[in-house]
Subunit: 295 residues, 2 copies
Amino acid sequence: MSFAATLTRDAGLVQARLDAALSGMADEPVIHAMRYAVQGGKRLRGFMVLESARMLGIAESASVSAATAVEALHAYSLIHDDMPCMDNDDLRRGLPTVHKKWDEATAVLAGDALQTLAFELLTPQDGSVSPAVQAACVGLLARASGYQGMAGGQAIDLASVGHRLTEAQLRQMHRLKTGALLLCSVQMGAACGAAVSATAHAALQQFGEAMGLAFQVVDDILDVTADSATLGKTAGKDAAADKPTYVALMGLAPAQRLADELAAQAAQALQDTGLPTERLAALRALCDMVVQRTH
Amino acid sequence: MSFAATLTRDAGLVQARLDAALSGMADEPVIHAMRYAVQGGKRLRGFMVLESARMLGIAESASVSAATAVEALHAYSLIHDDMPCMDNDDLRRGLPTVHKKWDEATAVLAGDALQTLAFELLTPQDGSVSPAVQAACVGLLARASGYQGMAGGQAIDLASVGHRLTEAQLRQMHRLKTGALLLCSVQMGAACGAAVSATAHAALQQFGEAMGLAFQVVDDILDVTADSATLGKTAGKDAAADKPTYVALMGLAPAQRLADELAAQAAQALQDTGLPTERLAALRALCDMVVQRTH
């Protein structure tokens, strides 16, 4: 199966779960906003959960709850990050942001409820996921997305506007803001099955960390090189807001080289898992995709 | 031990856990705001977790994580509810609200991170709580606080300003907005130990539901009868915002009678658990306290 076909299949699995979770609800603006916010997007985090699990021989039926949960959590973070008091963005995935289409109260509540939904999805009540896997995934997702992870990174981001950060500081900010949830996606995929070897676990950790940083570097590059229509969100926002980015710090070409290096590190880490090469194909293709996006 | 002493002891247990969870963090506004938001309050939800567990013979060491988690979750909901786009309140527990003391971005992020912290607290990594109990408590807390619980109730509340609700509609709104988390506190307390009998489980459910509604009726009464200094939050807000309340719907004296009835129902439900009377003392005293607050 091609990378594009795998990505589409996985996105479909996640979307079906999200649609089911949000069906049969009251006919209220907050519910409409939640449904709206979980449409579209590449579902890269869900893909990373499903394909990390699949690579380790774990059935899709055991990992799809975690894949859906991480996408619900990501959707919550986008709603809140777009709000006027945060990044103040009007456009997301080519459509008006939630606070523009509805209002700020709806954006706060829809985001809040999508965060909670992520933890509901991790604890299905139908016996499909063992309590041990449920507890492990909740522990991973909560730690990756709270004040020691994503939310903490967003706090540093807000505080750093107009300041010149070192590369080490920028890397730390992105490690939390974007990297933690991407790494967590790989970790949750692995946590959905039996324990893996220490070697494979360490290699997966390296893969997740390298990919997490690579995605952020690419986002910084695309903010400069792509137009809003292609991005589906407002281009040039970071520069306009004087936000610290890899492009601002090191220039465009070196940032592109860094993204390439990180993708290569991630690909090497996959090899280091010691798994058969044919098992690595989907995540290996993800490394290539990251590089292609920058050029 | 007197009711007041029990309440103080339980609040101290929860506060120590919250302080520990938020210690050693970066010196940033969001962290300061999180620490600020988890100070004070009566800790009734934590009390209900700890005392429901204790009533069933479950050790405090097994239930204190859940008690702390529900208070972190409650603190998040207060920060977001107070925001300008929501209830727009300047005062909480006698102090400036988070968005007044810092700003809206800090309020959004501190609330978000406190919600996540609740799920971190439910999944301690030190072996103190079994994976089965972790999974059960996460399932209960997520379902009580999301769009089918607290967040959904807040959505109805916002949408209902200026509308005249029937008592049934008002009861449904409060069942979600306030009642779900209070009921969940009782349910989590019970989930921290071995399964209880069907009779005791049903009685606990009735206790939690009656207490949940009683608290909201009392809140509506106090909004009218108490002054801001006593409440620690702005009195008369509901009436000023033309919000539907029990007092607005049925008048002050009938609302007080309803609170009394609900407290009596809750006390009866405790008897119906079939547990020895001496075990019921702490939660029985809570029923009395609810009535005393209204008169």
